[in-house]
Symmetry: D2
Subunit: 144 residues, 4 copies
Amino acid sequence: MSTLNPPELAEKVTSHGFSKAAGVRIAHLEPGKVELILPRRDDLLQFAGHFHGGVIAALADQAAGIAVTSKLPQGKIGVTVEFKVNFLASADGDEIIARAEAIQVGGTIGVATIEVFTKNENSERRCAFGTATMRAVDLPKAFS
Amino acid sequence: MSTLNPPELAEKVTSHGFSKAAGVRIAHLEPGKVELILPRRDDLLQFAGHFHGGVIAALADQAAGIAVTSKLPQGKIGVTVEFKVNFLASADGDEIIARAEAIQVGGTIGVATIEVFTKNENSERRCAFGTATMRAVDLPKAFS
Amino acid sequence: MSTLNPPELAEKVTSHGFSKAAGVRIAHLEPGKVELILPRRDDLLQFAGHFHGGVIAALADQAAGIAVTSKLPQGKIGVTVEFKVNFLASADGDEIIARAEAIQVGGTIGVATIEVFTKNENSERRCAFGTATMRAVDLPKAFS
Amino acid sequence: MSTLNPPELAEKVTSHGFSKAAGVRIAHLEPGKVELILPRRDDLLQFAGHFHGGVIAALADQAAGIAVTSKLPQGKIGVTVEFKVNFLASADGDEIIARAEAIQVGGTIGVATIEVFTKNENSERRCAFGTATMRAVDLPKAFS
């Protein structure tokens, strides 16, 4: 039986592997909603010097997973069945911010929408919009 | 006017930013088709020790972009309008391989499908399937 | 040169083919936003007696097209590049309502999100969520 | 306990509601694969006289459901979690043909890809490509 509450679990997930290496940070978490921030770094960009579409997608995916998981019973975690991202503007800011919201969570399936913003000193604009479908699975032992 | 042919351009795109840092390698390229390989590394994984869904998506996106770009006139490059990935199995292998194919390329829009495989010493199985829509834009000066 | 304004064009598109035969009605239209209603009828259902997923998708697609077109220059119409729908609940109401919003419209590409609701006498709940990518093309002569 | 085998179930699903009214016909069915045909009719078109994108999506969705269901245990049916369609060419033929293939079927989730072709007397070309995610549910009593 897991004893991790949603914020602890989100923190643990975010401090692993790609997410930790990239520098993803949880800015806000409430049941069904999360905001993740990822500061610009050269190894996160594409050929034109903007955040790489795959990195934007990775942040969106991670945010969707945390948003859905925060509405699941303790001991469960959402793993991605599929996700889809539309890119709306160049992510040329100093950081990107993904805001995910779980719009439906049932027994086995959860769905989240994600808005991603690119932020400079003076402005913030939406650069991507996504949808993700998650499946609830038992947390691995190491996480409970 | 660009003087880079498709293999040179693919090489140049892959040796930048996230793609270079992650270790993406072009294994095969022909007009409309590309195979990319990404070896396992701790900073590419998620909480359970498999390739991170976002990293898989990033590789798929990059493959789609190269496949579509290889069918565009020289001087043009495909940038992602949207992409969608279904995850079919845990990507727990020593490397992942993305095989993209441009299934339609018109004046401004190109579409590619991508299969991603997870490969161990003895086996290879499909772990993801995606579709990407690309838009043709002029190559940045630095790339022509 | 088209002389149809957005409401006239939306009306014309809706009074054709599938849309007319199915009984789609425009409930509201403002620049970038539209609400379409489709009342229940036996030939719009699936095996279990709910609205057919394809019919829900058709309504969502049509709404997205009208929302994006309403932000394009006169003489242009949005045709669907791709769309994606998540089904969130059984569409078992007396009618379905699609509310689309254009979240980005550029020179050649527009993107809309669509919420679909199933409505009974006493309640309304979201049954689907979608995203659509449109491409601006010249209106056929018959429509200008 | 259902006594319907996959072809009987596919037939039953196809002879209901929208699918029956539109005139959908099963041309081929084997485990994991199905081909559906829909002949042109005025009430299936959009403003420009081609098959309506929503109708193409409906046929793709139906094909995906049958392909996945044919790989499920008897007594189960696949209902759509989400689907995504890219439109590749005008569907201006005398009929459209959807060929779906289940690419992964697990305990609760199945995924199918769908190619849709537009066919004239002398030619056939791909006009759409889609992916669908299905969830296995118990067949309604009326169907077992």
